[in-house]
């Protein structure tokens, strides 16, 4: 099943890049390879890899569970409900929200909220999580902003407190 997914994705990727290459010259001047020469070769390589992987996985599945199992999506849905995958998805959602909020609230405040939230969601007690988050923000401020002079995103509204 894994190889089938990889195969389909590789095929789609190859076709997508061939589509993108349609307006980019393949050859220039006296027939020298143009800017789309290499991307086109790689798109074809991607398509070939995809087809090989799809065929291999179909042959393998024919030998075991049968061809139709390739198209069954039940195992995928079951996998999605899996606790491990849910944990990863929750983390991605919180990280996306974190990055979205950085320009509005500034780096330090958003980081404080993010660290606190992630720790609490994954089972750390609120008090402990707050202590760790505050000390980490303080450490980041001293090390990166104070010593290394790294420029961190400031809030759109602008404030020294929020940075």
């Amino acid at each position: 099943m894994k190889d089938f997914i990889v195969g389909v994705t590789a095929l789609a990727l190859g076709v997508f890049f061939i589509f993108l290459c349609r307006d980019i010259p393949l050859l220039v001047a006296r027939g020298y390879p143009g800017p789309s020469f290499f991307p086109l070769i790689l798109s074809v390589v991607s398509i070939i890899c995809g087809v090989i992987l799809m065929i291999k996985s179909i042959i393998r599945l024919r030998g075991s569970k049968g061809f139709t199992s390739v198209l069954r999506i039940t195992p995928l849905i079951r996998r999605f409900k899996d606790r491990e995958v849910l944990n990863a998805v929750r983390f991605i959602v919180m990280t996306v929200a974190y990055i979205v909020l950085i320009p509005y609230l500034g780096f330090l405040l958003t980081s404080l909220i993010y660290m606190l939230l992630v720790q609490v969601v994954y089972g750390v007690s609120t008090f402990k999580a707050l202590g760790i988050s505050v000390s980490m923000v303080f450490f980041i401020y001293i090390l990166f902003i104070g010593i290394l002079k790294v420029v961190v995103p400031e809030p759109i509204l602008g404030s020294i407190v929020f940075r």
Binding site: G34, S46, P103
Partner: protein
């Protein structure tokens, strides 16, 4: 340039301080199962931009050196390799650790340092000579060299070569975003100004190497390990006996490690497995391997640290990274205006010699810091994942942002990180993708430029002796695995 100038540079207080801090960071990252030296390098690189070049690059060297040793600590105490480079020795080290954990780690530490020192000395003497040799290379030789690098990445790093090829194609396509290297044509930017200069390298590296690990760690936030406790024995108890007994193994493993480290795409993990395999084959007691063989531990740990130094040979000489760590470090070198190749040795002779001296210092300091790490190991291993992951995620964000002061780069990091997570789960090797991102534009530039210079004459690619040699090497890299498969099939 004199050795005295280089020593003065290497022994500056800020450089030594940076090395010590990086070694402590390396100890922590290496000892935490799941967090790798590559991830730590990706996190460290953006901050080296704000330091002087020698201190910044020294930090990467010192951190990686110690992290590879430190990865052996959970192997001994938990039966879990801290980094992939420790996987080869895990079973033997754990079995030995059940009886004497501290002294097993003591032998491991000293052998790691010896491996690292040997690799550093080989780097020190071979890199300048190789650089002089390559000063006459044209685009043709560089084309074959980069193509060979990519071929090695496919053949070595992938369990299934077809997925390695796919990984290289994906990396190549990612690298083709932005302004094309020969004609300056804009490709695949979808009108985005941020993408004109292509995908920022460091955010991409943080994404590919750090985010998948964070996702893996947070998937099981409450997992606890059962740990062997240190039993109050002396750390360096067995060292002298082991060094006398295994001196041949140490020398052989250090040489194997350095050589494999120097191959593009082959990192410390492959060096450790190869050295372990060779040691088992020539051992007088091969039956002990897998049941607690100190010889096996010595072979693997010496080789993995030697590989760390060896990987810098192609990185500094050709600009072709030997492993994932040097692939990322290459970005740091470029950011400081240090372009690898023969000119680097000519222009920055003192700096490069100072850099080599740092390798020696880092390996010597590792014995002291490694000793502390062994003593504190049980405390390091108790840091819970649900606390560690959000903290590292914040460091990833600040690292990705700091390169260009751009939130767009943070998004690039996250998107490529999620892509990397799924690619890993589906068996596409990330090192192949990363190597293609670095070498892809070089292959394209050298191929097209060679054709333009020769007015489309393909014979140009085999018109010089070194080019022919490199072409044969590239073909051989592809043919060898098939020949091995045929031989195995015949014998069975």
């Amino acid at each position: 340039m004199s050795l005295y100038d280089a020593l003065q540079l290497a022994l500056q207080p800020n450089v030594i301080f940076a090395v010590i801090i990086a070694e402590f960071f390396g100890v922590f990252i290496g000892a935490m199962p799941g967090l790798t030296a590559t991830m730590a390098t990706a996190l460290l690189v953006p901050f080296t931009y704000f330091m002087d070049p020698l201190a910044g690059i020294s930090m990467i060297v010192a951190m990686a050196t110690v992290a590879i040793f430190s990865g052996d600590i959970p192997a001994v105490l938990l039966k879990i390799p801290g980094t992939p480079a420790s996987a080869a020795l895990t079973i033997d080290a754990y079995q030995l650790g059940r009886r004497k954990p501290a002294s097993t780690l003591g032998v491991d530490l000293v052998c790691s340092a010896l491996g690292g020192l040997t690799g550093s000395l080989i780097l020190m003497f071979s890199a300048p000579a190789l650089a002089e040799f390559t000063s006459n290379f044209s685009t043709v030789e560089y084309f074959w060299l980069t193509l060979w690098g990519l071929s090695m990445a496919i053949v070595i790093s992938a369990e299934e070569p077809i997925k390695g090829v796919l990984g290289v194609a994906i990396g190549f396509l990612i690298a083709s975003i932005g302004i094309e290297p020969v004609y300056g044509y804009v490709r695949f930017t979808f009108g985005s100004v941020e993408l004109l200069n292509g995908i920022s390298f460091i955010p991409a590296m943080i994404g590919f190497f750090a985010i998948p690990e964070l996702l893996r760690q947070i998937s099981r936030p409450h997992e606890r390990y059962s740990m062997q406790l240190l039993k109050g024995e002396k750390v360096f108890d067995q060292v002298v006996v082991a060094l006398k007994k295994f001196k041949t193994v140490i020398v052989r493993s250090a040489l194997i490690g350095t050589f494999i480290g120097a191959l593009p795409g082959a990192g410390a993990d492959i060096a450790a497995w190869t050295s372990y395999g060779v040691a088992k084959r020539v051992s007088k007691k091969p039956e002990e391997y897998g049941k607690g063989s100190l010889e096996g531990v010595v072979a693997a740990t010496t080789a993995n640290n030697a590989a760390i130094s060896g990987a810098w040979i192609p990185t500094l000489v050709f600009g072709i990274p030997g492993d994932s760590i040097t692939a990322i470090a290459l970005g740091a070198l470029m950011a400081h205006g240090l372009r690898p190749g023969p000119m680097l040795f000519e222009r920055y002779g003192s700096l490069i010699t100072a850099f080599f001296i740092i390798f020696i210092i880092a390996n010597l300091l590792m014995i002291l810091i490694g000793y502390l790490a062994i003593k504190l190991s049980t405390n390091i291993l108790r840091v819970p994942r649900n606390i560690l992951v959000p903290v590292i995620a914040v460091f990833c964000v600040i690292g990705a942002y700091a390169v260009n002061n751009s939130i767009f780069d943070v998004w690039i990091m996250l998107v490529l990180g999620i892509l990397g997570y799924f690619m890993e789960r589906l068996g596409i090797p990330i090192p192949s993708v990363v190597l293609a991102i670095i070498l892809g534009p070089m292959v394209e530039f050298n191929f097209i430029t060679s054709l333009i210079k020769s007015d489309l004459n393909p014979v140009v690619f085999v018109s010089r002796p070194i080019a022919i040699g490199l072409a044969i090497l590239t073909i051989f890299t592809w043919v060898l695995p098939f020949m091995r498969i045929r031989r195995i099939r015949k014998s069975t």
